[in-house]
Symmetry: C2
Subunit: 447 residues, 2 copies
Amino acid sequence: MPNMKYNPVSIIRKKREGDPLTKEEIQFLIQSYTADQIPDYQMSAFLMASFLNGLNSDEAAALTYSMLHSGIIVDLSHISGKKVDKHSTGGVGDKLSLILAPIVASCGVPVPMISGRGLGHSGGTLDKLESIPGFNVDITLDRYKEIIKKHNLVLAGQTEEIAPADKRLYSLRDVTATVESIPLIAGSIMSKKLAEGIDALVLDVKFGSGAFMKNIDDAKELAETLVSIGEQFGKETIAYLTNMNQPLGYAIGNWLEVKESIDCLKGIGPDDVMEITHLLAGTMIYLGNKADSIDEGIEMSHDAIENGAAFQKWVDIVEEHGGDVSVIKNPDQYPNVKFKVDVSSIGSGVITKMDTYAMGMISLELGAGRRSKEDDVDPQAGIMLHKKIGGKVERDETFATLYTNKEESIDEAVKNLKAAIELADELQNPLKSITHRVDKDGIHEYQ
Amino acid sequence: MPNMKYNPVSIIRKKREGDPLTKEEIQFLIQSYTADQIPDYQMSAFLMASFLNGLNSDEAAALTYSMLHSGIIVDLSHISGKKVDKHSTGGVGDKLSLILAPIVASCGVPVPMISGRGLGHSGGTLDKLESIPGFNVDITLDRYKEIIKKHNLVLAGQTEEIAPADKRLYSLRDVTATVESIPLIAGSIMSKKLAEGIDALVLDVKFGSGAFMKNIDDAKELAETLVSIGEQFGKETIAYLTNMNQPLGYAIGNWLEVKESIDCLKGIGPDDVMEITHLLAGTMIYLGNKADSIDEGIEMSHDAIENGAAFQKWVDIVEEHGGDVSVIKNPDQYPNVKFKVDVSSIGSGVITKMDTYAMGMISLELGAGRRSKEDDVDPQAGIMLHKKIGGKVERDETFATLYTNKEESIDEAVKNLKAAIELADELQNPLKSITHRVDKDGIHEYQ
């Protein structure tokens, strides 16, 4: 490769030795890789060296920049006002996007939301949206711009045009054991989010058994890296650390979560879901300059539920994306799943722990998730919890109901779900849903 | 890959986390890679993880085992007695193999020697042998067995049949910045040496400016790893740490080094060359059960020079390999190089330092070495030193002579060679040629 300004082996060696790379070196690597001028085996050596020696915040920002500029950046300058999106690092029962997006849009803040699909234990917003009959997330860029102009909201899937370098890098990381690196994760998230045409971003960084970051220190580091990248790109970014040591709400599974979201939008949602929803929505409303403080934003979020504006926005956006509004208005009209199986407790006491990762995997096995990207998901499958941490159960009392069309998966799922809760006489330490806020000034304990 | 017993991603992840791999996991990786069932990009991620997290001695032995068994292991059971070889980690002016192999063979110990070519600043035994007109190192396995049977000695190049996995891995390491890893280096060396059909091995592990290991601690670690692997394979292995902070002897370059070797075999070699040669040869004779101690082996080595047996062995083996014996007997008959250029000192004083790496690179530029594997080498090119560390030079006194057929390389070489020596009023700390011995009992200071 005679006309190359940089030598890939030298760059890999530099990172191997733990030395920081320049923006130009990172850009050379990513651009050359995307242009097929650097082979996979050099990129994977670089990824492993980056995984083990780390990338500092400048390097993470340079990586984000290079991946962002490998594709298009949506121009939303025809939309007035600050465009704000929210991103969650993913968890079990995390349907917050479905609730907060209509809230925020109904408060006058444009929300350009590009989402992903579920993988492994974690669900994905696209799968949930597609459980609504007719809902189409595969839209052109022109249609994307048209929908957000009309509704202050658009809910779309990632296209080939958005950060193609990230897509290639992610596939390579997946098969080379280099996924769980904080700067690589941060670069991947931010390159896609920045491509949406946003002006500000709220991040929900989850920790705990059902999250990608099992411990809170990793989650803090990821939140700080994400905020640092956002700020380096001139986008105001606020992250919250939230607890994923139990599922969010009671519903796990695509349609089950849509149904619970409808409850939330009607003002009868579970407390833990609503607490985080209002905080994230309030922060988005504040960042979108429609409130003077986050607290005022939270109040507006409550109002949007109470006055029905958020639910109406939801109905409108479902209709705009081709979705069947009748099941939104009357969820009981949704087709019935073949098997509903109650799962009862093997002991009595207070639930003190939920193996949230296991619950995500059980939901997957029931049909709600995918093991690999090519798998299809069953919109009807999942788990409805009747109890959560702190709830009392008697022996043989039903604490959850399985929903599935796969009869062969039931026995194993029942056994695993029974084993996924821990009981004791009392709950010593109630879970705190939200623990920290991270913004450009640093990390702050929440409340 | 459904019928795979192990998952390559899990193995890479395990090494990434710093956990030791089992012998079976390493064997699975190497075998699958050699069989094209694992792609380069997974192997390079594994190599980088191994580079950064290390491989323990069991893992290094398992790696060696897998690479060794990727090819043939020469069966020398038709040769009676213990077969002993020597391996050097490479340096500048290192012609020891050419001297000690005939010494040891003439003392009755069979020496099956498979050597490599030079690369970068470091010379290779094969290139030196091929500077003898007609000398053929490309021999079949049958011929290899026949020559060692006849002469107790064979000097051959590596064939495709020897450790093919190592060859593939080395090529990948070369382009992924994963060369300089002690366990990977050790596995590469030992898989090739163990394939020769040896019973015992002597290792010359060099440290200093002209060696691959610049500092002695790395050299110690490499020596310990090599000895540990050898012992795990049931081959008695002794390593010496020797000093490469100045070239070995006065000659650098292929034919120039053969010529100096002839002097050595005639009993008029430089002291530093002979000191290490006798030690390594004596150790080989001892390991080959032809002496009761290393000291006795050293005495026998001296005798073999003095009584002419070693030189006769050299003449015989050159003839057997098709080499022109007349230039061995009368080196002055060797064709003349086009340019001989004296290089003089820019100051006066005692030489206290020689940039040995630079001297290796200057010799390369004069034509004696290769930048990449595909390059040809010029047998005539190189450097003859007239002074070494501790030697006194006056201003403008010649301290070296360049030999080259490339007129265009001369000016730069003269300039660089002048800059490659340091002078002072006196030499504070004379170099010690041999500093440590490493055997199965550990590391010992030498003398």
